[in-house]
């Protein structure tokens, strides 16, 4: 299998690089369908890695990389399962999401997120699994979950803690503010800042450079410098499932889902 065309994402292996395009309208909200297609990809990743040295993840949508988790689906679960059962359902879902994110994090090739525009919540968490982030000047990052009474749940906090200082983690999480690429580079998240619309081109050039290196050495180096914080990842699921049934969360999600103002992406 050298390529896949899905409803939410597609990928192709070409010239020893896998390019995964995210294309779920309106802004790559990550829900059950995206999860299933990511699971299919992860299932063949080891086999693909024999013929590839890099994976580039990018979005074909003008608005950005991803707006995050599908909050309408989450709100729908609360309606469907009720406050007593929703945590159990969410836990099963999050365990699947974490399995995918962990597999991408530990992928046996070098992974690059080529980022533009909105990179919020779950989309930011997907980018954080990658070895490198290359972002254009108009990219914008945010963990807005606390506005809804929740914490990030796709592995965001442990991975952010792995990559940046704790004061930065507190600032980003506890204010829920968005920040630009310049700031993201200053705090050490983004490795290359490029002009508008140039992230994918820069990611391809970077992937070409990586092709020159010995694969086994790269794998060992990655294992050494990018440990997966498994204990904290499990704690994150526990805390999220503890918070989810709270009335404040339901109120926050309801407000978001029913928001018709001109600024739904702003706090």
């Amino acid at each position: 299998m050298k390529q896949y065309q899905g409803q939410t994402l597609s990928w192709e292996l070409k010239d020893r690089v896998i390019e995964m395009a995210l294309h779920r309208e309106p802004l790559n909200e990550i829900g059950s369908q995206t999860l299933e297609e990511l699971e299919k990809f992860v299932a063949v990743l080891e086999a693909l890695s024999h013929d590839a040295h890099a994976l580039i993840v990018y979005s074909t949508l003008k608005g950005g990389f991803s707006a995050g988790a599908d909050l309408r689906q989450l709100y729908g679960w609360i309606q469907e399962f009720g406050q007593s059962e929703v945590a159990r359902h969410a836990r099963e879902y999050l365990q699947r999401i974490h399995a995918v994110m962990n597999a991408l994090d530990a992928a046996p090739l070098t992974t690059i997120a080529a980022i533009h525009g909105v990179t919020f919540g779950g989309g930011f968490e997907l980018a954080l699994t990658c070895d490198l982030m290359i972002a254009d000047k108009l990219a914008r990052f945010c963990f807005p979950e606390l506005r809804l009474g929740l914490i990030p749940s796709f592995g965001g906090i442990p991975r952010l803690k792995r990559d940046v200082g704790n004061a930065v983690v507190r600032d980003l999480l506890l204010t829920g503010r968005s920040f630009n690429t310049t700031k993201a580079q200053q705090i050490g998240l983004v490795s290359q800042v490029v002009g508008e619309g140039e992230a994918l081109r820069a990611a391809r050039a970077t992937a070409s450079q990586m092709a020159k290196f010995d694969r086994t050495t790269t794998r060992w180096a990655k294992k050494f410098i990018k440990p997966i914080p498994l204990d904290e990842l499990r704690q994150e699921i526990d805390i999220f499932c503890e918070l989810l049934p709270q009335p404040a969360v339901q109120a926050g999600l309801k407000k978001f889902v029913e928001n018709t103002s001109a600024q739904p992406y702003l706090p």
């Binding site: 630009n180 001109a262 992406y265």
Partner: protein, 80 residues
């Protein structure tokens, strides 16, 4: 030109150029969502453009409820 007026003028010029709206059609007290015909995602683009241009950080919670260029200029001026 006083600094605050200069900041306002630069915002109007930058917004007009980025969203391809004639500069002369924009006024300081315009609702920029309406005047520029932009949605929330494009407003984030504008925010990022302004941060890059003025080399400031604008926490978006400070911009909650801000929709006119003059107030926006005041927020930026306070961080210069």
């Amino acid at each position: 030109m006083p600094p605050a007026e200069k900041t306002l003028d630069e915002i109007l010029t930058l917004a007009a150029a980025h969203f391809k709206v004639p500069r002369e059609k924009l006024s300081p007290d315009d609702d920029f969502f309406k005047a520029l015909g932009i949605d929330s995602l494009q407003a984030l683009d504008l925010l990022t453009k302004l941060e890059n241009h003025f080399h400031v950080e604008l926490p978006d919670y400070e911009l909650q409820g801000v929709a006119d260029f003059r107030t926006l200029a005041g927020k930026i001026q306070a961080r210069l």
